[in-house]
Amino acid sequence: MRNPFVMECGEFHVNYKQDTALFKIARVRWRVLAMLALFFAFPLISSDYVIGLVTLCGIAAIGAIGLNILTGFTGQISIGVGAFLGVGGYTSAVLTAKLGLSFWVAVPTAGLVTALIGALFGIPSLRLKGLYLAIATLAAQVIILFVISRWDSVTGGTSGLVLARPTIGSFAFTSETSYYYLMLVTLIITTVFTLNLFRSRVGRAFIAIRDRDIAAEVMGIHLFKYKLLAFFVSSFFVGVAGALLGHYTMIVSPELYSIGVSVEYLAMILVGGLGSVFGSIYGAVFITLLPVFLRLGVESLSVVFPELGAIFNGLKEVAFGAVIILFLVYEPEGLAKIWRNIKDYFRLWPFSY
């Protein structure tokens, strides 16, 4: 058994800079680089369909990281992500399609607008906690969608707006591959930003608020300000994800941002691991792809038992629920933990005792 009191052998950090680095161990740094290389090379060997799916996963991951900042790290449960994705998508749609701004301006602006609206709906966190706050965010969901579907002159009402893929000069990101790279770069920035955030002052304050808000306040953390800040930062990334999604699917409409979407994002961070940046990514991939794999499964089964098609469709839902529950039962800390366990196992293998 690994003794938790002993540091990884062979690695000594002689100064604090090394000790505070993101990836402290050389081998890990190499592995990260290798993974990155793999992600950049991936479209070369893959089909459009798979690239498209991965793009959706990646966009979801950006949103999930955003939600995790708020819910996983700061402890403020939100069931309003769906609507915030919508705010991001719509802002970008209005800015590009109606005002003719460039995508490259519109997406960050969408993030900011979502962040501001997120912070606005974060105000109840001044007084509300836990599930009560969660319902206040559910209210945000309902109210935002109402406004979107009623503000016809700007949002196109219930029929939504049509967006275009971005361009640089004469190059348009119309292919799956090009949009994939756009997503990948954004995801990397989001990930690194978040990792950094949580090894510095503000991120630490967020976690402190989650763990024990009263103590945090006595340590000099302005609770309300930091909670709003968490809503702000979180919503920023959710907004960016919403905008990216909008430009990818080229449409925004109220029906795309239902409460179901909010629940799905919650599922992502729970399955992935609350308070884990990489967990958010795993969770996003998992929840996005699970229906796809289930469909695959159903399809291959349907070949054998064509008569049972209808039953399989129901079983798909059963399987979806069951997988989530099994996850929670066997690994409540989520995919991130499973990944850690695998790593731990191999690190000490063959001396795993």
Partner: protein
């Protein structure tokens, strides 16, 4: 990864058509028979040898009325299965995929009959296989205008706050103005409303003679029941998704005298010429027409129009099939639906509907295929 989507289908190989079905989602009650109808027709036509020597392969799946799932499923149909056309379903997903099907050049039929799908610039690959919601509403208004006795007819509109619900509203109002019918009130009723008393009472203050409902069965039934409870005198008229056997079942007595827009025939209209094929197919499966409902016929007809487009196609590609559909001229659907005609600048197959009234728990069609034009 930059392969093109569906290339031309070679002679003798099956033509693949993608299907987006709602089986388990919010509209599963009507989505299921609709999907069955589509599959049934495809099976039927294949049993007759297919079209032009091609069998049709309908590769479809449930997307549970979730747009993101529809998008993923569409990606798969396009990139993995390499389908040449799509049979879609709801308003939301049809909207969500409108741009993409245009980019990917895949003709798209959905069960959503939004007027703006007519707009060829916005949606060059979408087709309307039945009268658009707006046309339905216009025709209803026209019928009111023609049949109302005593003064100007007062009409209320009841719909829900979704793209589907609102789709015909502006057009209906404009048309009413044009022909001199008063739209006196509008009420929004949620798709899942438990109670509509407040809306109906407010509406009743304006004392409309007619109320046009664009809803699904559930909400329509709630409206009718509450109207009966409140003893309203208004004549309710529903567009096509409000109409159907399901409404009578849920609303019971309250649905008596309700008038519905009928875009597709009821299976019990056995005398219709087109019903023979359906009957023949069902017999081969050991089923009867009585087991089926109108939505089954609707799916059947939709698939049939698609097959006709494939038949007319010179090239078995998305583009080719589009051109094939655009060649359909007054396709006789044997009374199962209004005959359809498509051209290069018209993707709306028809603007005709029939009207039916509920008598003794059954929709009885009382008009021929009529139109406001």
């Amino acid at each position: 990864g930059s392969e093109k989507t569906a290339t031309e289908v070679k002679k003798g190989e099956p033509v693949k058509i993608g299907g987006l079905f709602d089986i388990t989602g919010g509209t599963g009650d009507v989505g299921t028979p609709y999907a069955e109808g589509e599959k049934a027709y495809v099976e039927y036509i294949n049993s007759k040898g297919g079209v032009n020597g091609h069998k049709i392969e309908l590769i479809g799946d449930d997307y549970a009325y979730k747009i993101p799932e529809a998008q993923k499923l569409y990606q798969k149909l396009k990139s993995s299965d390499k389908v040449s056309a799509i049979l879609g379903w709801g308003t939301g997903d049809t909207e969500a995929l409108r741009q993409q099907v245009a980019t990917d050049k895949l003709p798209f039929f959905s069960a959503s009959y939004s007027e703006h799908l007519k707009d060829l610039k916005q949606s060059p690959y979408n087709f309307l296989t039945a009268a658009s919601y707006s046309d339905q509403a216009r025709t209803v208004l026209k019928w009111i205008k023609d049949n109302h006795k005593g003064g100007t007819a007062k009409v209320a509109l009841i719909y829900n706050d979704t793209a589907f619900g609102k789709s015909p509203i502006e057009d209906a109002k404009a048309y009413a103005k044009e022909i001199g019918v008063d739209i006196v009130d509008e009420q929004i009723v949620d798709l899942k409303a438990l109670d509509t008393t407040s809306q109906l009472l407010n509406m009743n203050k304006k004392a409309p003679d007619y109320a046009i409902i664009n809803q699904t069965w559930g909400a329509t039934s709630t409206i009718l029941k509450d109207a009966k409870k409140l003893n309203l005198k208004t004549q309710f008229i529903g567009l096509n998704w409000a109409t159907g056997e399901g409404l009578v079942k849920i609303a019971g007595d309250a649905s008596e005298n309700f008038i519905g827009v009928v875009t597709h025939a009821f299976p019990y209209e056995k005398d219709l010429k087109g019903m023979k094929d359906v009957e023949e197919y069902l017999k081969s499966k050991g089923q009867k027409l009585e087991d089926k409902n109108q939505k089954f016929i609707q799916g059947w007809v939709t698939a049939k129009i698609m097959a006709e487009g494939i038949k007319n196609a010179d090239k078995m590609t998305g583009d080719g099939i589009r051109a094939g559909i655009e060649k359909i001229n007054n396709l006789d659907l044997g009374g199962l639906a209004a005959n359809v005609t498509f051209t290069k600048d018209n993707h709306a197959g028809t603007n005709k509907i029939r009207l039916a009234k509920v008598k003794n728990g059954k929709f009885e069609v009382f008009t021929d295929y009529i139109s406001y034009k």
